[in-house]
Symmetry: C2
Subunit: 259 residues, 2 copies
């Protein structure tokens, strides 16, 4: 199938989506950005028309994908006068903000994008939703033209998924940063830890992580915890270490523990 | 080279080490466990003698590897009357606890082991230390018979490395558990998050994680943070979410932020 698509937004998500949809044979009719040069750059690569004025968006496309900042989605949507299916790509915004339109939904690729880096679209899951069954079928076809990791997730569950995504992406990244920082400050090679980190993720995704939890917190090994706290120079990271240790212990023992 | 080795301890680390050293052609002379049947099980697989009495440990081996719980290392070491090189496998205990012996050191494989699962020894880094240069050379040869990820790390730095290992292993595992728990409770398929998690780790290990940090905390996006906190049923995980978000923001802005 070949869908007629308008992409609204030329940031990371808009850029990556427009390019992969174009590469799969879909027609990218228009690309919108508030900055014309950005729209033009992407439009050139996708044989689309570049526009910087929402009123110029044509009404004949089948699918409109709004890929702008969360807090701008409603404003953008409200300015569109079209009949086609209007979707956004946000994990945390309800599709209800699009309900000015008769047909609306979610086209949410669950991945962290960087504009300058190619994305591995074979693995990126699509979380889809629509207020009409036939539109959901249509979104499924568009998503499946890219890969088969397709999930139907309503707005309420998508918000929980997004929260989980923040935990496994933003929070895990921060912890890796804290560990790297500690290594760098002490001339300990961080690379030593990479096999362990990879094994951790492998193990945690093949089991229930709570069942395979190890470490001083779950052993209530107060000496090691005390030693670790002394090694951390910053109060912030001592607080962080204590909080996560408390969370590990309390999750395991089902009661508060003094850490 | 073919080393004459005694393994003291038949837990996860002792078992995995004995078996890989045996497979690389070293002579495992004895295997010790307080539980004779455990020593026998491992001894059978490594053509070693099984013992459950520390006084029976022979004095003619070149290398003694103590792989017991951290708090038992000193007690075990103090009971040994031998001339060879005595090492332990702990990340957090100083080699000083072995200083009853003239020659002592560290033979620390940085990985999380499970007894029932084969370990990928090609990737597991060895962190070595010894109080005599020629013993360090000897340990290096033994380690290199397994793989070339060999590092020389003194006790002080090894403790910092161990703390970093707790962060990237135990703490990251816990966060993945919290995310999975949230998905399971809401019938959201956790598998949707696995590609994101893998990409997160890839990105964090190829960059400085603090430089590629994204998410609501670093954007000071209070609405999203508020929404996320409302989605978490347990006070424990709300506290955890707030603490990590505060740590992300403060690391980035270099000042306290209200989250």
């Amino acid at each position: 199938m070949k869908a007629q698509i308008v992409i609204i937004g030329s940031g990371n998500v808009g850029t990556h989506l427009a390019r992969v949809l174009y590469s799969k044979g879909h027609n990218i009719l228009q690309v919108f950005s508030r900055t014309l040069s950005k729209a033009e750059e992407l439009a050139k690569k996708t044989e689309a028309e570049a526009i910087d004025d929402l009123s110029k968006i044509i009404s004949s496309a089948e699918l409109y994908i709004i890929a702008v900042h969360d807090d701008a989605i409603k404003t953008v949507s409200d300015q569109l006068n079209i009949k086609g299916l209007v979707t956004h790509t946000s994990g945390s915004v309800s599709t209800k903000v699009l309900d000015k339109h008769k047909r609306y939904g979610s086209f949410y690729p669950l991945q962290t994008f960087r504009k300058e880096k190619k994305s591995d679209w074979k693995k990126i899951p699509f979380c889809l939703d629509a207020n009409k069954k036939k539109d959901l079928d249509f979104l499924e076809k568009v998503a499946r033209s890219i890969n088969d990791n397709v999930y139907f997730i309503n707005s309420e569950n998508r918000k929980k998924l997004h929260l989980s995504a923040v935990i496994v992406n933003n929070f895990v990244n921060h912890l890796i940063g804290v560990a790297k920082n500690l290594c760098d400050e002490n001339d300990v090679p961080f690379e030593v830890l990479i096999p362990l980190l990879n094994e951790t993720v492998k193990k945690a995704t093949k089991n229930n992580p709570f069942d395979v939890q190890t470490g001083p917190a779950i052993r209530e090994d107060k000496d090691t915890i005390k030693n670790h706290l002394q090694l951390l120079d910053e109060q912030l990271y001592r607080d962080l270490y204590k909080m996560i240790s408390r969370s590990i212990a309390q999750t395991n023992f089902g009661r508060e523990t003094k850490i």
